[in-house]
């Protein structure tokens, strides 16, 4: 990495980290989390982006060359080939089930039956393996077939292959383009994991009335598993926040009382555990979180970056959360896709003067920059930030890089499918160094378990 | 880095030159299986088999102390992967054996006598449905999630191992200037059947009771074995593909049985690798003297043959040394129990007779044993430098080619679920089919090739 690229990387990272920490920065960071626009800006269609990992680096380069003022870029989440391998049936993918230029879509559904709460609560691992995966992986329809075994073998290979691609991309972004990541690692709130992935919206809304205490118990059981699974995917150097897209905490899905009883306690626990492990969190408050976002004041200051969605009032968010947590957002999907550069410019000026006044603010769309953003609108957003979003000449902030968790930190105790004790029993007497055998066994058990959890997100 | 590059090229040129029967500056010192190097740095056998993070350290120490060595290989067995699938065909040091005892193959029958037709009609399916459940303890409960997770973890661990091996190879090349003696592996089709599937007793019965089935089976598995070997071979074609040959030795088979059962399919498979632009390093384990003249039927200078202790290397030189390069000459017992003086004398004689016109590589009998005495290994090197010199430099153009020869076509790839089947299930494809088909076939092949690593 050349010195100038390194300096650029540090300057951007410093600006991003400082804003999150509510420390002074030289200007408002331009740091959207989900930058869909960047994915397709270089001219690739959605299918190419989702299927051909070799295209990413090219797309990133083109985007950064044209918009070098952007401070972070994120990595992708969905990769078609691994979904094909397993016959994962909860998404429609561009080019496969949808025209190649339509964005991927989640298919709502009930993937856990109400009577299965107790199984999930007793052993989330067993539930995911025995009940959930067979419903979402078509290859498990015939479980004893050669094909279903091979699908898992291929999935293990493909997952590692993909990890290598993601790693190469992150290194390219850092070493060639001086670009930090917006987030690394993804975890849901326990309630959303239950609502989106397992019970489905209809199911969970009925449960809210019929069996609220089961929801509470299930969320509680999911907490350590979700935390462990994301720690396996988060930035080992703790530079970047962990991503949490939060769905069902918005108004009017749940009443404030339901939010306080069912949604918030397990979510707060997860976020606190991630902060305890030395991380920051970037939470998307999807939809309108106005009635509920004051709860974020309960978490340590400057540790959670909150993206305010289009339906939320960002000026009100600043009033409610300013001085506690950094917020991002301000431009709606429609501003960016159907608005004009003049309109964007005016709006950004307004945002800088109000929401951005004392720092703790990052410019972005409402939880994303949409695919169909007009390039001239994105450009107008940047130019307006350069003009109205400046605080000083440089950012005085010590970049946070730490490969180690805080002292005394212990990972939560979670499940695996086959604990070492079981395997050990089967091996019988171990003639040499048990730890050497155990360490590798546990490493791959953990990897496999984390992988499994990735499919309910 | 620059001098490491030079050193790497010098060593590789010497090794490749000798295999090609071209003139080289001296007899290369290039063991294929150098067990001695694995534990020389003080690692237990268990550490070497389980802890991939220790490999580079071990290589560094060995190469520092024996810089005259021309090639060093990667280990073959990685314990964690065995544990993940519950592979029951080996006893491993530190697990089933004391940590300093070497790993051992367990003989047995993993394919029944009446299963030949299944193997012949669909080898991949057969491996998955019949053989793997017998050799993977983790498959005890068919269809269980535990069985599936074992495959998932195996896929992850295989890629993890590939990453560690790649790092090791880069370390050897860039930091130590060291080529590898071979990359990728293939068995003789008959050995695959004999060692991995039917077991020794089974195969010996079969060649009497159902000789046609044995022949058909050997033929049926050639394409899959060749594809699996090519998938693990050096993409730049610099290093030979490894073929440990077991049951072709005297007196397992009579020369007539060798000619009938062992050789035709082996020759076919070897030619396919050579056609793809590779050389081969064949370990002729045991005494191959009644049979090794067959190596003359293969293209000259393409197959490096390791002569085992029981074989007479002087006779090997006389029988086919003008046609293929040979390696060996020092028996296990000499390296373990002999004295430096005895080694020196033996090396001198080898250089004078076997090494006379080139086409010879100094080595033990198919391996340098774990317990070779360091002073004996040193004596072997010193004596080779003294008696094995031909000239001042090697004039040989290094062979390094990412592409197969023009017009070459790989054998038909085996898969479990062909793209056509998957495509029919997907129904209408809205976008670019090739984008979906490409990765599907890539991972199908990777998985399919992987299956073939588990029967020996």
């Amino acid at each position: 990495m050349s010195d100038s690229v390194k300096a650029l990387y540090e300057e951007r990272l410093k600006r991003y980290q400082a804003a999150i920490a509510l420390a002074p920065t030289d200007r408002i960071p331009i740091a959207p989390g989900s930058n869909y626009f960047a994915e397709v800006y270089s001219g690739f269609n959605h299918q190419e982006y989702m299927y051909d990992a070799s295209k990413w680096i090219e797309a990133d380069r083109k985007f950064i060359e044209d918009f070098p003022e952007t401070d972070v870029l994120r990595t992708t989440r969905v990769w078609g080939p691994i979904q094909d391998i397993l016959g994962f049936n909860t998404y429609k993918l561009p080019g496969r089930d949808l025209p190649p230029n339509v964005q991927f879509q989640f298919i709502e559904g009930e993937r856990m039956k109400p009577e299965e709460y107790d199984i999930l609560i007793r052993n989330p691992a067993e539930f995911i393996f025995e009940y959930y995966l067979p419903r979402v992986f078509d290859v498990l329809k015939d479980r004893t077939s050669a094909r279903s075994y091979v699908a898992f073998l291929k999935a293990g290979m493909a997952q590692m292959y993909w990890n290598n691609m993601l790693k190469a991309r992150a290194e390219f972004l850092q070493n060639e383009m001086g670009m930090p990541m917006a987030t690394m690692g993804l975890v849901l709130s326990p309630f959303d994991a239950l609502a989106d992935g397992l019970r489905g919206l209809r199911g969970i809304m009925i449960d809210v009335h019929r069996r609220p205490e089961k929801i509470q118990e299930a969320c509680e059981a999911l907490v350590p598993e979700l935390v462990n699974s994301v720690l396996g995917a988060a930035d080992p150097l703790r530079r970047y926040p962990i991503f949490m897209p939060l769905h069902r905490g918005c108004y009017p899905f749940l009443s404030p009382k339901q939010f306080e009883e069912l949604y918030w306690p397990p979510l707060k626990k997860v976020v606190q555990m991630l902060i305890d492990a030395g991380y920051t969190v970037r939470a998307y408050l999807e939809g309108n979180w106005g009635p509920n976002w004051h709860h974020w004041r309960e978490l340590p200051k400057g540790k959670v970056l909150l993206d305010i969605d289009g339906p939320g009032d960002i000026v009100k968010a600043k009033e409610d959360l300013g001085g506690y947590q950094c917020i991002a957002g301000g431009l709606t999907d429609s501003d960016l896709t159907v608005g004009t550069p003049e309109h964007v410019r005016e709006k950004v000026k307004f945002l800088c003067e109000t929401v951005g006044k004392d720092g703790g603010y990052i410019i972005s769309g409402g939880c994303n920059i949409p695919y169909d953003t007009k390039p001239e609108n994105y450009r107008a957003m940047i130019d307006a930030i350069m003009e109205y979003g400046r605080y000083g000449d440089k950012t005085e902030y010590e970049v946070q890089i730490n490969p180690n968790p805080p002292e005394g930190w212990q990972p939560p105790k979670g499940h695996v499918l086959t604990p070492w004790e079981v395997k050990k029993e089967e091996i019988g007497e171990i003639m040499g160094d048990e730890d050497l055998i155990k360490a590798a066994w546990e490493m791959f058990e953990r990897m496999a378990f984390n992988w499994t959890f990735g499919w309910i997100l | 880095m620059e001098d490491k590059k030079k050193l790497f090229e010098e060593r590789l040129k010497r090794y490749q030159g000798a295999i090609a029967l071209a003139p080289v500056d001296r007899v290369p010192i290039a063991a294929g299986a150098n067990y001695f190097a694995e534990t020389y740095s003080g690692l237990t056998k268990q550490q070497f088999v389980y802890d991939s993070s220790k490999w580079m350290e071990a290589d560094k120490k060995f190469v520092e102390d024996f810089p005259e060595v021309d090639a060093l290989r990667s280990g073959r067995i990685w314990g964690p992967l065995h544990d993940i699938v519950g592979y029951n065909m080996y006893k491993l040091p530190g697990r089933d054996l004391p940590p300093d005892v070497q790993f051992q193959f367990i003989e047995g029958e993993r394919m029944k006598a009446d299963e030949y037709d299944l193997l012949i009609s669909n080898p991949g399916q057969f491996l998955l449905e019949r053989v793997l459940p017998r050799v993977f303890n983790e498959l005890k409960e068919p269809g269980s999630m535990r069985a599936h997770v074992a495959f998932l973890k195996a896929g992850m661990a295989q890629m993890y191992l590939a990453g560690a091996m790649k790092q090791r190879a880069l370390h050897l090349q860039n930091e130590l200037g060291m080529p590898q003696p071979m990359v990728g592996v293939m068995l003789a089709p008959f050995d695959m059947l004999a060692d991995g599937l039917r077991g020794l007793k089974g195969i010996m019965t079969d060649i009497h009771r159902r000789p046609d089935k044995v022949l058909e089976a050997c033929d049926a598995i050639i394409p899959d074995m060749v594809n699996a070997a090519l998938a693990t071979a050096d993409p730049l074609r610099r290093y030979p593909i490894f073929m440990p040959l077991h049951r072709g030795c005297h007196p397992f088979l009579s020369p007539k049985q060798f000619d009938t059962f062992y050789w035709p399919s082996l020759k076919k498979a070897m030619l396919m690798l050579i056609d793809a632009g590779y050389t081969i390093r064949a370990f002729l384990e045991g005494d191959w003297s009644p049979n090794w003249h067959h190596m003359r039927e293969l293209p000259k200078g393409k197959v490096l043959c390791d002569i085992d202790g029981p074989g007479d290397i002087f006779k090997a030189k006389a029988d086919f040394g003008d046609c293929q390069c040979i390696a060996g000459g020092l028996s296990d017992s000499l390296l373990i129990l002999g004295t430096p003086d005895e080694i020196r004398e033996r090396v001198r004689k080898l250089c004078e007779v076997v090494g006379r016109d080139g086409g010879f590589i100094m080595n033990g009998g198919c391996c340098i044993p774990y317990d070779a005495k360091p002073e004996n290994y040193r004596a072997m090197i010193d004596a080779t430098l003294e008696y094995g010199r031909y000239s001042d430099r090697t004039d040989f153009e290094i062979q390094c080619d990412p592409n197969p020869p023009a017009g070459w076509k790989p054998p038909k790839a085996g898969v479990i679920t062909p793209w056509e089947v998957k495509k029919a299930e997907l129904g209408h494809i809205y976008g670019d089919e090739e984008l979906i088909k490409g990765p599907w076939e890539m991972f199908e092949r990777m998985a399919y090739n992987w299956l073939w690593a588990w029967t020996w």
Partner: protein, 211 residues
């Protein structure tokens, strides 16, 4: 609003057991299924009112739909052919536009509309332009509701409205759009008559249109 019946009240209170018990009693007493449905619809309207007042949230709307579904299953064997075509307040055509497969919001709207006495023609998700136009023509519906969750659908909604113009029926139908990425700016862009911020707003607009 007149005093609610016991059944409608139980439904508004989401008292599932009570609702089912009352339905059973009424059926046993020989009360016509259509009358029971009418009472339930009054209850659903009450639920919509509570939502509007910020007392109820989506979880209550969805749960009430679940209860209603159970009631309908109970009534099914007692419904006569003629009952199906009961007098409705008016026809509303609904659908999620082409390319988008999300239907949570649209389904809630459909439930509330039905509860309010409208006949709902639900075209489902990923609905092509022509299907919207044809269905509006065929039914003579005065209200068309288009739903979307993804922002790439803005041009799709515009296309539907343009097609209504081309078919010469734009002035005969009131177009309402709704869904997370919609707002006034989007309404203007696509040329719709109304943007409904939530399901109840959509129902109220429909009531206005049909008077």
């Amino acid at each position: 609003m007149a005093e609610l019946t016991a059944l409608a009240k139980a439904l508004v209170e989401l008292d599932e057991e009570q609702v089912m018990e009352l339905v059973k009693q009424k059926l046993d007493a020989g009360e016509p299924a259509m009358n029971i449905i009418k009472e339930c619809n009054e209850g659903m309207a009450g639920i919509g009112k509570r939502f509007e007042d910020g007392v109820y949230f989506l979880s209550e709307l969805i749960f009430s739909a679940e209860i209603l579904q159970n009631v309908m299953a109970e009534l099914e064997p007692h419904l006569k052919e003629s009952d199906q075509k009961a007098e409705s307040r008016g026809i509303v055509v609904l659908g999620t536009v082409k390319g988008d497969i999300h239907d949570i919001g649209k389904n809630i709207v459909a439930t509330l509309l039905t509860g309010a006495g409208f006949e709902v023609v639900d075209l489902g998700v990923d609905v092509p332009t022509e299907a919207f136009v044809e269905k509006v023509k065929e039914t003579g519906a005065k209200v068309l509701g288009m739903s979307a969750l993804l922002s790439f659908t803005y041009p799709e909604m515009k296309t539907v409205i343009d097609a209504l113009k081309d078919a010469g029926i734009r002035d005969k139908v009131t177009v309402i759009i709704g869904g997370a990425p919609c707002n006034e700016q989007v309404r203007e862009f696509v040329g719709a008559d109304y943007y409904a911020i939530d399901a109840v707003t959509g129902v109220n607009i429909s009531k206005q249109v049909y008077g």
